[in-house]
């Protein structure tokens, strides 16, 4: 099981360099404020920071106490305060209140604000408006790429999704371009570039501009990574909306993997303590099951347990010398494996318990029906019941969106049923704006939209027209795309999830993730040629691009390394699917995402909550 890589699979570049770079830069910044200082860290930055520099490193550089940035009075008595924050206006106000309180108390301290990954002019302006711009010194910690795993880089910017796809705020695109620029300076230029989506195109163009400005640095370097593929999340919302059934995805859906690690509660650890576990390729047990369909995982784990037992059993009948060897060399490894095994078994149990309770099978069945486009009435009434039972508003929203995208609109009565409070009206409006939800009004056929547009064309306001077009663009053509790209595999007999045939295994053989299929098709053709219709259906007519350099310096090894950039987040299911594709075709995929996401995070990002 646990698919081994093909022997000819290319080696992955060493991404730990990114960590070292980030650490060195942070230390440099901390040393800019010599002497003892208290460090205030924004909650969102804590986990990423932990992966870069632990407390003892911070202490080495004279960080005295650590505080979380939260709306509480500060008790720090240190003379120097350092803030490590994301460039958000609310943080600026927090810092301003703190500094101004000190001023009132007649206290002078040194303040330093370190923005990660970059500072924004708006932030500086707020500092100025609050009258403390002169009191603080500002710096940037250009830490934008966190290697979560050997093949997964995350920018840890979950807000990218809402900021760009909902609010139309493009400020993070520059950050993405900078990150790509960093990668190309470290790992050589990318000979082949593909992309789809408006944001992908903008990021790509900005990145190119950066490269041109700093000409010469990457010139003459041998490319280490042969292809780069940029993809906007809104090209494929469907995949992200589905319940995940590969192990890693399921763990994420159930326990929430945060920055590459997960908190297993007492019900998993079978003790009274919670345990924070790092989930990556170094966890041998996890590495073997992460990409597996959940139905296989239990069998695999029990097999593994038996093997382990057998290895333990070997010590019977050992002589003293062998025993010594065993204890000194193998026992530790076995114990470690034992520990991990029991953790993952615990996690599986816990998942099973939760999933059966919520009638997981029914849910999956409904999702598959929606994807395949049959029994729509039944699915709709299932969703209706789901809403009526008020199990989980987020889940209900997710199903509604899935229905809306696959069926090109959802009956409005579903929304009416929600009525969780006034803020949900805003949530609906958000979902509509992002193109996750469209209503299936009686008059809202295509002709109606067309007349709406033609009416607007006479209107002089250019902005409105783009608005209208973007709302038009958000019409989903999922059914047609699905047919064109053959996303629903033909079922002849049982789909053997133990021996997957195609990427559909990540959704129990019912659906090939759209995003992954697009990537597969483009890589096969080395261009968008022949995919014109699909691109048109995706409403990305102007935003699909290919760019190849003629230089023939790329080795065949590097040409099988592909960096996939997900703008707006990717799910573990997509990662698993592409890892599978890599094994089939002898590629290796590297993932760069603005954040790892899943359906719940997607919905939460769109929700308005009472503060």
């Amino acid at each position: 099981m646990a698919f081994p890589h093909r022997l000819d699979a290319p080696e992955l570049p060493d991404f730990s360099m990114l960590k070292r770079l980030a650490r060195d830069q942070l230390i440099y910044l901390l040393e800019q404020l010599p002497g003892k200082k208290d460090l205030f860290i924004e909650a969102d930055l804590m986990s990423p920071l932990d992966r870069i520099a632990n407390v003892s490193i911070l202490k080495q550089h004279e960080v005295d106490k650590l505080y979380k940035v939260e709306n509480k009075p500060v008790l720090s008595s240190n003379e120097q305060l350092c803030f490590l924050v994301r460039p958000r206006i609310k943080n600026m106000r927090y810092i301003a209140s703190l500094v101004n309180a000190d001023k009132v108390a007649g206290r002078t301290r040194k303040y330093k604000v370190i923005f990660s990954p970059q500072k924004f002019y708006a932030c500086e302006m707020v500092l100025e408006e609050e009258g403390i711009y002169g009191d603080v010194s500002c710096d940037e910690w250009a830490f934008s790429l966190l290697p979560l795993d050997v093949d997964l880089l995350s920018m840890e910017l979950p807000e990218f999704f809402r900021d760009y796809f909902l609010e139309g705020d493009q400020r993070w695109i520059n950050t993405v371009a900078q990150a790509l620029h960093l990668l190309s300076t470290l790992y050589g230029p990318f000979p082949n570039c593909y992309g789809i989506g408006r944001c992908a195109k903008m990021a790509y163009e900005l990145w190119r501009k950066l490269e041109e400005e700093e000409d010469g640095e990457t010139k003459g370097r041998r490319p280490e990574i042969g292809h780069i593929f940029l993809l906007d999340r809104d090209v494929d919302f469907v995949t992200a909306l589905c319940s995940q059934v590969v192990y890693e995805g399921l763990v994420d859906d159930t326990f929430r993997i945060k920055c590459g690690s997960v908190d297993f509660g007492p019900e998993v650890t079978s003790s009274d303590k919670s345990l924070k576990v790092l989930l990556n390729a170094e966890d041998k047990v996890f590495h073997e099951i992460r990409n597996e369909h959940f139905s296989n995982v239990f069998g695999f784990l029990s097999q593994k347990a038996r093997n382990l037992q057998a290895q333990y059993d070997r010590r019977r009948g050992m002589d003293i010398k062998q025993m010594k060897n065993f204890v000194s060399q193998e026992l530790k490894g076995l114990k470690q494996e034992h520990r991990l095994l029991s953790l993952h078994i615990g996690a599986c149990e816990s998942i099973m318990k939760k999933k059966t309770k919520q009638d997981f099978q029914e849910l999956i069945k409904t999702e598959h029906a929606l994807l395949e486009g049959f029994n729509i009435r039944e699915s709709t009434s299932y969703i209706e019941e789901h809403i009526d039972r008020q199990v989980s508003p987020i889940e209900s929203l997710r199903l509604m969106c899935l229905l809306s995208i696959t069926e090109n609109g959802e009956p409005k009565r579903l929304q009416m049923r929600m009525s969780y409070g006034p803020e949900h009206l805003l949530t609906f409006s958000n979902l509509r704006r992002a193109g996750l939800l469209t209503e299936q009004g009686p008059g809202d056929t295509l002709t109606a939209v067309e007349s709406k547009v033609s009416k607007l064309v006479t209107d002089k306001a250019a902005g409105k027209i783009t608005d209208a077009f973007s709302s038009l663009a958000k019409r989903s053509n999922f059914r047609a795309i699905s047919k064109k790209l053959n996303l629903i595999p033909r079922v002849d007999g049982e789909y053997d999830l133990k021996v997957p045939r195609d990427m559909a295994y990540v959704f129990s053989g019912a659906y090939v993730p759209l995003s992954c299929r697009i990537i597969e098709q483009v890589l096969e053709r080395r261009s968008w040629q022949g995919l014109d219709e699909v691109v048109r259906l995706l409403n990305c007519g102007d935003f699909a691009f290919t760019d190849m350099t003629k230089e023939d310096k790329a080795s065949s090894e590097s040409l099988r390394l592909i960096l996939v950039v997900f703008l707006g987040g990717c799910t573990f299911s997509e990662i698993s699917a592409l890892r599978f594709l890599g094994r089939e075709k002898g590629y290796r995929f590297i993932f760069l995402t603005t954040a790892v996401t899943n359906s719940a995070r997607l919905m939460e990002a769109m929700s308005e909550v009472k503060a």
């Binding site: 206006i89 609310k90 924004f120 002019y121 708006a122 302006m125 707020v126 408006e129 900021d163 609010e167 139309g168 705020d169 493009q170 400020r171 695109i173 520059n174 371009a177 903008m202 163009e205 900005l206 501009k209 041109e212 400005e213 000409d215 209706e384 019941e385 809403i387 009526d388 039972r389 008020q390 409005k412 929304q415 009416m416 049923r417 009525s419 969780y420 409070g421 006034p422 803020e423 009206l425 805003l426 609906f428 409006s429 306001a461 250019a462 902005g463 783009t466 608005d467 308005e608 009472k610 503060a611």
Partner: protein, 839 residues
Amino acid sequence: MDCYTANWNPLGDSAFYRKYELYSMDWDLKEELRDCLVAAAPYGGPIALLRNPWRKEKAASVRPVLDIYSASGMPLASLLWKSGPVVSLGWSAEEELLCVQEDGAVLVYGLHGDFRRHFSMGNEVLQNRVLDARVFHTEFGSGVAILTGAHRFTLSANVGDLKLRRMPEVPGLQSAPSCWTVLCQDRVAHILLAVGPDLYLLDHAACSAVTLPGLAPGVSSFLQMAVSFTYRHLALFTDTGYIWMGTASLKEKLCEFNCNIRAAPKQMVWCSRPRSKERAVVVAWERRLMVVGDASESIQFVLDEDSYLVPELDGVRIFSRSTHEFLHEVPAASEEIFKIASMAPGALLLEAQKEYEKESQKADEYLREIQELGQLTQAVQQCIEAAGHEHQPDMQKSLLRAASFGKCFLDRFPPDSFVHMCQDLRVLNAVRDYHIGIPLTYSQYKQLTIQVLLDRLVLRRLYPLAIQICEYLRLPEVQGVSRILAHWACYKVQQKDVSDEDVARAINQKLGDTPGVSYSDIAARAYGCGRTELAIKLLEYEPRSGEQVPLLLKMKRSKLALSKAIESGDTDLVFTVLLHLKNELNRGDFFMTLRNQPMALSLYRQFCKHQELETLKDLYNQDDNHQELGSFHIRASYAAEERIEGRVAALQTAADAFYKAKNEFAAKATEDQMRLLRLQRRLEDELGGQFLDLSLHDTVTTLILGGHNKRAEQLARDFRIPDKRLWWLKLTALADLEDWEELEKFSKSKKSPIGYLPFVEICIKQHNKYEAKKYASRVGPEQKVKALLLVGDVAQAADVAIEHRNEAELSLVLSHCTGATDGATADKIQRARAQAQKK
């Protein structure tokens, strides 16, 4: 060779001095030099003359004239002096002419007579007048020191970063000092002044009297003093015709000389070079020039004309109306080679090469001689070095030829020094040309660096030569050619007689996409000259939008700036422009501009959401965006408003907006919310407890949990909660309460719209199998098996499944059969299956 050393004059035993002509001056001076104020910049710099400076009392028609010439006497600029009387002229290190006026104002002119700026040496000077002034050079830049009519000194060590320092008073000073100079030690400028027989040293804190070690007696006054180029040495000329030479620290005497001339010299300057053997001072009188050093004899020259001395790093330049000469100590390498009867390796090599050219076998003899001593490497080096110090290209060539000849007999002689010397000499010969007129020596050139030399060429607008030098030396484009082209372009935009189009085209043709050229800098210059249109045209060539924006803003082309900023994709830049626009335009226009730029609009909205909510509302209002307005008020209803009335009012506004947006659904929902809020308020008043902010669903649930069934039903009717939903709600609530009696009553109230399986499920969830069984029997046939399995009645489930003849149900039951207890049931199912298959 004899004739070559003809102009060598020995001073003492160790050193020779030579004087040779640099240029014959072609400047057609009408006045004598003594009638002018003269300033010549070091490093072969330009010469400034202010004619008729003292005839201020005369009519305006004979205003003084300021002329600027190159070192070769080529006129660079000429202008009528219209300001006040000038006391002193001096050149700064950037080759700017500083003209110190009597009123303390210092006017700064460029090389081409263009006025740059002016500054003042302090207010007190206004009354007291400036008596004397000096421009001096330190490692930070150029400084100015003045002596006022009140006999006080003020100095600024760097005119680029003007900080005036008023020096302390000299006690008892009644008249102006007989002579004074600026000393620079340890990065601080001091002033040394002589009053009668006394010397005083002024630093910024105090005035101290100093004495010269080893000064001959009988001195009653000092007439002249001179500091060396590097501020290391000092020389004083006394009224007894005695010259004291020592270190500038005044701690050590180097030597002394008595020239027996009591007349005050016109000028006295040091003539030495870095690492020179001898330190000598050149003293000039009206018709006599004397070089004195640590020797009993001095070298004397007769001056035919009125001359002016310019101290240099490695010698002295002497110019008069007709000639421009250079006097320096003969460098060691040259001396070795050219000294009469020299047997130095270099001399032999030069000889060998000459013989070789004559095809004489003597060449071999000489060469052997050098090789036998193992000095060939040294010989080559000597020749190369000496070539550097020669002024005449012919002599340079023959020395280099000798070096090149010697090199042939050496293994692995590193070629760098030879190659570089050839390159350097080519550059030097080019700039020494009469038309260029920068008579740099090799040592000066090395001290100045090629970058500064290029700057000076650019300053003289000698762009083609500068570019050729860059190309010849293969300097990186960014430092070399591009930089010069950019300077050229900046000059070009100042040509007002050429049309904007032509200038822009000319610049673009020359510059193209040369790396390192910033079109925005050139555009800024154009704008500085008042050519806005040209600036905009030039900006079009600028590839980096980030660079275009600030200038566009400065030129008040904000809207263009906005589109450029958006093009750049840099949101910070967009934001900068937005704020600029916000201040510049009135609100309406600002909003209109935003409306046409969706990207900027979303950016600004994001900002407003966090920082300026009211502006956000205005933005939506302006756009008639009723949908967003509605959303805005909804948000306000729970985020901003505290009082219930305020919240309802906000919701009402929202509902109105939604109606306007034709979003009936949202409007209705909002109105429902208003009703709910009011109702919740009433419930709180009447029943107590917490109802506000609960959703409709939760409100009903809370009512049921509180036992207010009637009210709950009323509410459900009022708000038309769908039947199914109400049933789910009640079911969950009653089960939570474990009110089994009420639940049963409820189940019987009418036929359940959601079936009875949920009843079974919820009872099981509450671990009440007994109650669950009650409902299991009522579950409809299609879900019966499930229900029975839930209550654990496997046997009956099997029966039902068999009855249904449903394969899926059969397997489901089978999967629930565990171990021995259900063995019989399992068999039964298997039998039924077999039967079914038979059929």
